[in-house]
Symmetry: C2
Subunit: 320 residues, 2 copies
């Protein structure tokens, strides 16, 4: 029987699940909303449902696959069994491996979502298998999977890689964490929407991003931003330029510090807008990168939104 | 016969050399000015002279020691034989190991100055031998030796660790590297003196740091700054507070990214001013460090200026 693996990307907003063969090719996938406010048990059930509906598309029984990998947004215990802390889900020390194994009937392994997506990019996309690499994901928040000396950076208490909270401007806007001028407060999708909202509130120019009520502004998706930028909407172009500038600044800091071979960009914003964003990000980064690190390759991942599920399936495959 | 090792800290301003026993205890040391403008051959001769005069103090022949370690300010080839690039010395691909071995008659190994000093701190000062650690040196410039997963960070082209060029304020002063708002342009001794100079030029308040002519302002040493701060000189206190603020910001960024167990501070500024600086730096850092990394210990090295020669002697000892 063919080897099969399940890969799950568990985010604060959506759950994406895919069924993969042993060549890491995705045979089918499905997604659903996470709705973390319903609590841990409900989210576990939704993960299982999403896996079952992807499995149905190719007519397989999840209990018969070789294993499932889950990328979760938080710090993961070193034995890959528990989600230690996931603020976006409101989870602390959640025994996700045991709970999913009981419901799925196949072995399950957990990884940090950014590290798992970085694994997907490293294994499927980068022939050279760099020993030093940064994968940076720009979406509602900002996260990274970082490899140094061939190993994922985890830190003393498994809390490393919080690039979203790198201060880039001490006079910048206040971040969700309470600090002023974090990368995430300057360049995430949340930051973009905050800027659009305050421009609209200030009675600025007409914009395609402008909508009738406040609430729907907060719901603007990356696709809408892309269409507004393509139509040369002034506000949209301006906020996207700022995002590229700060992302370039953050990448320069990471290059000067870590001297990676590759910086791979992913996440919702990049998936929708990489043709506009990547050249601007690259210019802002290389202008500030020291000569010794300027050989770095800055690219958008071709895996797009599938980097996470691909890496999660690889995590399960590697444990087989 | 007793095992003996030579440790050399080669800086852009001064050369420090020490003779160490196998317990890494310093038996004697001497120093001289580097004067890199005289060229590579002259600096090599000065390194040898400094070693000889330290050796004379304890009546030994450098040719009879077990080996010499040299911490040099730049990137070092992976076989520890050549200084690939040292902008402060004006060197490119300098065969320092071979040239010093010919003159000294003992084996020589090279290391990056910050990594070598970090080795001294890690081996002699930190009982717990952390796998994740940042050593940050504040002086004329700013450098770091970084250990992640138990290994020194070197990067794809041995250019990692350039913390001095982390941008902390995109509207800040222009750095020597051409970028605006680098950590080094905001918080090094050079930055402090630039601030004092422009305050004096702007006809600011009377200050103990003020002197008759511009040139001597650029020569203020850390000791003079310490005495002015102790005397509550307003300008001195103000510039030092700014230095502590930006150093705290940089440490928060490093903690959020690398999640180290220890941040050890060293260099000329810290040696002179650690009782004033360390509490302020710690407050600014912890305020911006994410909860998962807040267990970090932020301390000044007790080795002071000897961290470099101690680590260099350990480098030679480890090769024996």
């Amino acid at each position: 029987m063919e080897e099969l693996y399940i890969g799950v990307d568990l985010g604060g907003t959506k759950i994406l699940a895919g069924i993969f063969n042993s060549e890491h090719h995705c045979l089918a996938s499905d997604k659903t909303k996470t709705m973390p406010e319903d609590g841990y048990v409900a989210v576990c059930s939704r993960i299982v449902e999403t896996i079952r509906s992807a499995a149905e598309l190719v007519g397989i029984d999840p209990a018969k696959v070789n294993g499932a990998g889950i990328g979760a947004p938080g710090s993961i215990s070193s034995d890959e069994s528990r989600v230690l802390f996931a603020p976006n889900l409101g989870w602390r020390d959640a025994p996700l491996k045991a709970d999913l194994e009981a419901q799925l009937g196949c072995p399950v392994w957990l990884g940090n979502d950014c590290n798992v997506a970085a694994t997907g990019i490293h294994r499927l996309e980068l022939e050279a298998k760099p020993n030093d690499m940064v994968s940076l994901f720009l979406g509602t928040g900002i996260g990274a999977g970082i490899i140094t000396n061939g190993v994922f950076l985890s830190g003393a208490t498994r809390a490393a890689g919080e690039v979203g909270h790198m201060v880039l401007d001490p006079d910048g806007p206040v971040c969700g964490c309470g600090t002023r001028g974090c990368f995430e407060a300057l360049a995430s999708r949340t930051a973009i929407f905050n800027k659009v909202k305050s421009a609209v509130n200030d009675g600025g120019e007409l914009t395609q991003l402008m909508v009738a009520d406040d609430e729907s502004v907060t719901r603007i998706r990356s696709g809408k931003l892309r269409r507004a930028v393509e139509a040369a909407d002034k506000l949209a172009v301006h906020v996207l330029d700022e995002t590229c500038f700060y992302t370039g600044l953050a990448i320069a800091n990471l290059c000067n510090l870590l001297n990676p071979e590759v910086v791979a960009l992913g996440g919702g914003l990049i998936e929708q807008l990489h043709p506009v964003m990547v050249p601007k990000i690259r210019d802002a980064a290389l202008e500030r990168t020291m000569p010794g690190s300027r050989q770095v390759r800055i690219m958008a991942t071709a895996l797009g939104d599938d980097a996470g599920i691909t890496g999660a399936a690889i995590l399960a495959h590697d444990h087989n």
